[in-house]
């Protein structure tokens, strides 16, 4: 994975004078970062009435890393994040953010933590440029609002009232607001929901940039590709509990698969008999065949599959060799049924 907060810092946004202070600040942060995790959650419980939104969740997010929290709707992601942000108090368990309690340490944490809420919270009549200008004046050494707007492709909308911006533009204003104070830790609740591909890539760039610069990022998302691309660490949450965690490659494992389409109702058992030991095969859904191995797919497996097909007069269409995706793992762990 890419480097942590590095020494030689890039150009300053306000002028050259502060360049050395960036380096100094970065190294101070690096020494502090060994002492506490970005976020440490232990046996967290939060109930609303009789239902437990969070039910014994434990999770540790490293510093200077991107941690993605995945889970179906209602899994407890937003509740967990909002407890970390100090908006709600846990019913049981402990939460430490940068080593501090999110409620009692709120005063010290607020300048150090950037927050992007799932539902904006930006005054509708305000313009992005003036809004970021005001937020910048809440911080000691903020980013330049104009530079940030440019980064997020919002320069042209800087003077348009927020309520007249598209949903994707509003999302980006919200993201800019979360990072303008140069926080050590950023919570992003579904930062790319509803974004077009260009805006999504601009957001991904920003998150990757923050990570490379040494900030810690906790994000929730429904996009598995986003977690796969960005996250150093992935936590899958369901029914208020942690069901799996690890790096994206730890979660997907080395397992490989061969997929193809053919007429429905092939004799899968016969196919399996022709394949090397340690292989699994199934038809799901009808006409879609999946051959799995624990290791990487090797040429002999592909040859065996196609040879069996040739022998039985089966034309294997759309034959693909894949490794398991995070989405496969996610659906396996959280089930395929729809959540309300």
């Amino acid at each position: 994975m890419a480097a942590r907060g590095s020494g030689g810092r890039p150009p300053d946004q306000h002028g050259q004078g502060q360049q050395s202070s960036h380096v100094a600040a970065a190294s101070t942060l690096a020494s502090v970062s060994e002492t506490a995790a970005a976020v440490e959650i232990c046996d967290l419980v939060k109930r609303y009435g009789h239902t437990a939104a969070v039910d014994g969740l434990s999770l540790r997010a490293r510093r200077a890393a991107v941690t993605a929290v995945l889970g179906p709707n209602g899994a407890g992601k937003t509740t967990t994040i909002e407890i970390c942000e100090g908006y709600r108090r846990p019913d049981a368990g402990t939460v430490k953010v940068l080593g501090l309690d999110p409620v009692s340490g709120a005063r010290a944490l607020r300048p150090r933590v950037g927050v992007m809420l799932q539902s904006g919270g930006i005054p509708p009549a305000v313009r992005p440029g003036e809004y970021l200008g005001v937020l910048a004046r809440f911080h000691a050494r903020p980013l330049d609002p104009a530079w940030l707007l440019d980064r997020l492709g919002l320069t042209g909308s800087a003077r348009t009232p927020v309520k007249r911006l598209s949903g994707g533009q509003q999302q980006r204003v919200s993201l800019a607001a979360a990072v303008i104070g140069r926080p050590e830790l950023v919570f992003l609740d579904e930062p790319t929901a509803g974004l077009d591909p260009q805006a999504r890539h601009a957001t991904w760039n920003l998150i990757a940039g923050l990570r490379t610069a040494g900030a810690s990022v906790i994000l929730t998302t429904h996009h598995m590709d986003e977690a796969e691309q960005l996250a150093d660490h992935v936590a899958i949450v369901d029914h208020g509990r942690l069901v799996a965690e690890g790096t994206p490659s730890e979660l997907t494992g080395t397992a490989g698969q061969v997929r193809f389409r053919a007429e429905a109702g092939l004799d899968v058992e016969a196919l399996l008999a022709a394949l090397p030991v340690g292989t699994a095969a199934k038809e799901s859904p009808a006409g879609h065949y999946l051959v799995e191995v624990h290791d990487r797919v090797d040429p002999r497996l592909v040859a065996a599959v196609t040879a069996w097909c040739a022998e039985h007069g089966v034309l294997a269409q759309e034959l693909r060799i894949e490794s398991r995706t995070l989405e496969d793992v996610f659906l396996e762990l959280t089930g395929r049924e729809l959540r309300s």
């Binding site: 607020r110 305000v126 050494r141 990757a208 610069a213």
Partner: protein, 265 residues
């Protein structure tokens, strides 16, 4: 720009809060600009008081029963009370109610601006708008022939009354905005504005109300404020102790309840 260049250029974290005064001024500036851009708010805080002052001075529409000079002498203290009512109460309640509804207050809760700082910013905004209203209303009043019949200390008493009235109305505004839905806040704030406009000694002198109702009306914040302003500016009275005390009690009750009951989300 390539992706790699973008990633490499991001500045390192360097968090820190700005001084509280700077945050409050920044937030107050934003709130004032938002208010001045809002047509309905401007109507409420400026256009209606100026129109009432002008119309009722020029013609004896509400049967003040006296010449133009006497009418404007009665109306100037009243519309100053109205300006305080509209800015500190109605306008502030509506704005805060919708900020709460849109999650603006929740979002601000995660910035370095503390809740105390936010209340401070709202207070600065309200007082600044009131100062602008006072300048305009006094200017219009003077143009219409208003001459204060006031003692030397009148300016001090007026400032005290306006500040006490602002505290009382602000507490009530935040109590309303922090406990009710935004739409309900909008309706109640406008209704209270109309009721107090009628029964607050602003347009109709309290003396025109039945004798039994008068003590009750002067115990309302608008009645106390307009009564005190009339006493000081129209009748050259000294320290309006009773009216200040009434406003102080309203302020204490409103602010204490708001502090206890205000819900930020």
């Amino acid at each position: 720009m390539s992706q790699m260049a973008d990633v490499a250029e991001w500045p390192a974290p360097d968090p820190g809060a700005a001084p509280m005064a700077k945050m409050i001024i920044a937030q107050a500036g934003l709130e004032a600009r938002t208010l001045l851009r809002n047509g309905e708010q401007l109507l409420l805080t400026l256009i209606i008081p100026v129109l009432l002052l002008t119309a009722f001075s020029v013609d004896d529409l509400v049967k003040l029963g006296s010449g133009p000079r006497a009418r404007v002498d009665f109306l100037v203290p009243g519309v100053i009370a109205l300006a305080v009512l509209s800015t500190a109460f109605t306008s502030q309640a509506i704005a805060t109610g919708f900020e709460r509804r849109y999650g603006v207050l929740k979002r601000l809760g995660s910035t370095p601006l503390s809740r105390g700082g936010l209340i401070g910013a709202k207070t600065v905004t309200v007082v600044a708008i009131e100062a602008a209203q006072a300048l305009i209303l006094l200017g219009v009043g003077l143009a219409l022939g208003w001459r204060p019949h006031a003692g030397a200390a009148a300016a001090l008493w007026v400032v005290l009354l306006v500040l006490a009235g602002t505290a009382a109305f602000s507490g009530l505004a935040l109590l309303l905005a922090g406990t009710m839905r935004a739409e309900a806040t909008l309706a109640v704030a406008n209704l209270v504005y109309l009721l107090l406009l009628g029964a607050g000694g602003i347009i109709f002198p309290l003396a025109k109300f039945p004798a039994a109702a008068r003590p009750v009306l002067t115990l309302l914040p608008s009645g106390a404020l307009s009564d005190g302003l009339h006493a000081v500016l129209q009748h050259a009275a000294g320290l309006p102790a009773r009216d200040l005390a009434v406003l102080a009690v309203w302020a204490a009750i409103g602010i204490a309840l708001a502090a206890r009951l205000f819900r930020w989300e």
